[in-house]
Symmetry: C2
Subunit: 222 residues, 2 copies
DNA sequence: ATCTTTCCCACCTAGGTGTGAACC
DNA sequence: ATGGTTCACACCTAGGTGGGAAAG
């Protein structure tokens, strides 16, 4: 809704802000957490489920931030940009392009923008611990607010925006990590992805074999 | 910690702020939600459990707010003031004074201050839905941050503070509701209180009789 | 003895998983 | 027939209840 307009309006100020040499976020640094885990999924092409009511992401997008002005107020936003112009298809154990992407929406942030629930908050708050986007939900239907709508079988890359909110809004950072690319699906296509999700997501523990669940007692399980 | 000093410093500005005639919160109104439920407990003297790791309140303190400046930034704080100078005792089915209160702390907010997790946020955020303090936890031990420490068998009344955070902090509201008075206990004293808690708190549903759980099907239960 | 606190417990609420059959 | 989506489900995580025995 209006957040989308806000973001594009504010984005044009990024360059201007830098030219003015605003000193408050001179040494800003944003680091992706759990990068090793993300890369495990990335290596075999990550997939994220989309459902009518919205599905959480796993792995969870988590960043540690430093270099903000502790006493200034910021909001953290997330959007999902198409990674290419393709629709994808999983055949014979690999993902191959299958026609042009469906373009649902011309603006920048086709699926909507997720506002981190801690927003707005002081720089000190965002820096005291990693910022976790575990509550963002991906959907393939038009839904109530707070969910991200994506096209199934299309590839996306999450983008993080840090906005300084004050008398004048100002985009402070606009970063993205290739490790977090994924293809939206309504059901997992690659069995190896399913296996990784089950292995690392605690909520999927029901599907772990008994032997995997008692790694320290190899003789007892089974 | 520093929040306590902030509050007392800011409080002295309340009168000054009013004299300046700051117009932003002219028609401020704060209403207690679920007041009927609170009064059911108040009538027989409410009790709240305190534990080492902290116990939630039931009923939950919930207020609806109007009259804030939608685009100004506010924080919502809660503290618990001694309602009298007594220590209380439950004998023969009623609460009677039993000696003078133990005074653990001379300042105003002896048990600490709870900051609503949505803080800080815009006036529009606080007004779009009732503000719920369901996550506040009461304890009788010195603990990590975010919990309120109370003396068992002492009577308290919660106080809500709304602070406008900006270049200059300013206390906007300071309200309290007698309906929300309670005596802190480590175990319920009055069986009628226990019965009310079980009847209305969904988390205590395990202790509801079968007949109470199927009110619409009187013939089926039992 | 009495009063108060602590601890473990069974039983809930609330909601996040992939499965597999059904559906389109 | 094929490929993609939906749904109910069992099984988890995570954590909020008062009970009751035990401890202080």
């Amino acid at each position: 809704r209006c957040m989308s307009r806000l973001l594009s309006a504010v984005e044009s100020e990024l360059q201007a802000g830098r030219e003015k040499g605003d000193p408050t976020e001179r040494g800003l640094q944003v680091t992706l957490e759990d990068a090793e885990l993300w890369r495990k999924f990335q290596q075999i092409t990550n997939e994220m489920i989309v459902t009518k009511n919205g599905r959480r992401m796993f792995p969870v997008l988590k960043v540690s931030v430093s270099g903000l002005d502790p006493s200034s107020m910021y909001s953290f936003l997330l959007d999902f940009m198409p990674a290419d112009g393709c629709r994808w298809k999983f055949v014979n154990g690999e993902w191959v392009p299958a026609g042009r992407a469906e373009v649902r929406n011309e603006g920048r942030s086709p699926g909507g923008i997720y506002i981190h629930p801690d927003s707005p908050n002081f720089g000190a708050h965002w820096m005291k611990a990693a910022v976790t986007f575990n509550r963002v939900k991906l959907t393939n239907k038009v839904n109530g607010e707070g969910q991200i709508m994506l096209n199934s079988l299309h590839k996306y890359q999450p983008h993080l925006h840090i906005v300084c909110v004050g008398s004048q809004h100002r985009l402070v950072s606009n970063v993205s990590f290739v490790e977090t690319q994924f293809i939206a699906v309504t059901a997992y296509q690659n069995d190896e992805i399913t296996a990784l999700k089950i292995k690392y997501n605690p909520f999927a523990k029901a599907f772990l074999d008994a032997k995997d669940r008692n790694p320290g007692r190899p003789g007892l399980a089974e």
